[in-house]
């Protein structure tokens, strides 16, 4: 007797629909929650509250005074380093700082290096302060960072 095998040649296929549904749901979840992480860093400022002790102050330890002035809208109007007017150019500030700290040894620890005191108008925009801190902290040569002043502090806020 001849038996015909009618099922021959048909493939058993898995039903992929539910898996694809879940996979697309996962994809949509990850796409919606995805956020590009912006790299952030810190400028460290060590600033204990000034003590009231009236000890003798060595002139060489006096901080460099950086004065930032602003107009009523918070825009930067002038930069002065130790009373020397530098306009509004942060590159000029950087050049001045390079001149001022050129006497210190590169191996000096930050604890013995010069200190800068930033005295700003109250309404100056914070980004200008960060630009000033960037200018006095160092500069980049290629990928290398050359450090200038690492000790930074703020003067009392001006009202």
């Amino acid at each position: 007797m001849r038996i015909r095998n009618r099922e021959e040649g048909t493939k058993q296929e898995l039903n992929m629909t539910s898996m694809i549904d879940i996979v697309f749901l996962l994809l949509i979840f990850f796409v919606m929650t995805f956020k590009i992480v912006e790299m952030e860093g810190d400028f460290s400022v060590r600033m204990p509250l000034a003590s009231n002790s009236s000890g003798a102050v060595d002139d060489t330890e006096l901080p460099l005074k950086l004065r930032l002035k602003a107009d009523e809208n918070g825009r930067l109007t002038s930069i002065a380093m130790n009373e020397v007017q530098l306009g509004t150019d942060f590159n000029a500030l950087r050049e001045t700082v390079i001149g001022l700290v050129s006497g210190t040894q590169p191996g000096d620890s930050p604890e013995v290096g010069p200190e800068v005191e930033i005295d700003t108008d109250y309404n100056l925009r914070y980004e200008h302060v960060i630009s000033a801190i960037t200018a006095v902290s160092g500069y980049k040569v290629g990928d290398e960072t050359v450090k200038l002043i690492e000790k930074i502090k703020f003067a009392k806020p001006r009202r």
Partner: protein, 145 residues
């Protein structure tokens, strides 16, 4: 004439490349997803600086202060002004002291909006100094341009 009805097979596209791609996309997003963005605050857009680099080690005992453009300070989900911030800082400091550390060991991370008044940031620093906090970190965005 007898006409035989032909059984028409459903034309199915090959799904394999598409599934491959979708899995690759899922793997990509899974690797890059960052759930640990608790430090960020929508009200703060940080200023840029070319000099900063992401810290290699996490700061000890961080106290994160967000300063919005209008000078409001956000600490741990609560909003303060420079005058009332002392209360929030005291709460944070009590945790640090309970762990046997002093306020000088804590790191105050200041995330201020780029258009906030510099005086508002100084006021916040002054209030923190009065609580015997000494170490401050001014957080900025890395500028790679």
């Amino acid at each position: 004439m007898q006409v035989k009805a032909k059984k028409v097979d459903m034309a199915e596209g090959d799904m394999t490349p598409m599934i491959d791609m979708v899995f690759q996309l899922i793997a990509f997003f899974m690797v890059l997803i960052n759930f640990g963005q608790t430090e960020a605050n929508d009200r703060v857009v940080l200023p840029n600086s070319q000099l900063v680099k992401p810290p290699e080690t996490k700061l000890d005992f961080p106290i994160i202060l967000h300063i919005a453009q209008d000078g409001e300070v956000v600490l741990g989900g609560d909003t303060y002004t420079a005058e009332t911030l002392r209360l929030g800082l005291n709460r944070e400091l009590s945790v640090i002291v309970a762990e046997g550390k002093s306020p000088a060991d804590a790191n105050v991370i200041i995330r201020a909006h780029k258009d906030a008044a510099a005086g508002d940031v100084q006021e916040v620093i002054r209030v923190a100094q009065e609580q015997k906090l000494e170490k401050f970190a001014l957080r900025v965005k890395e500028d790679r341009s």
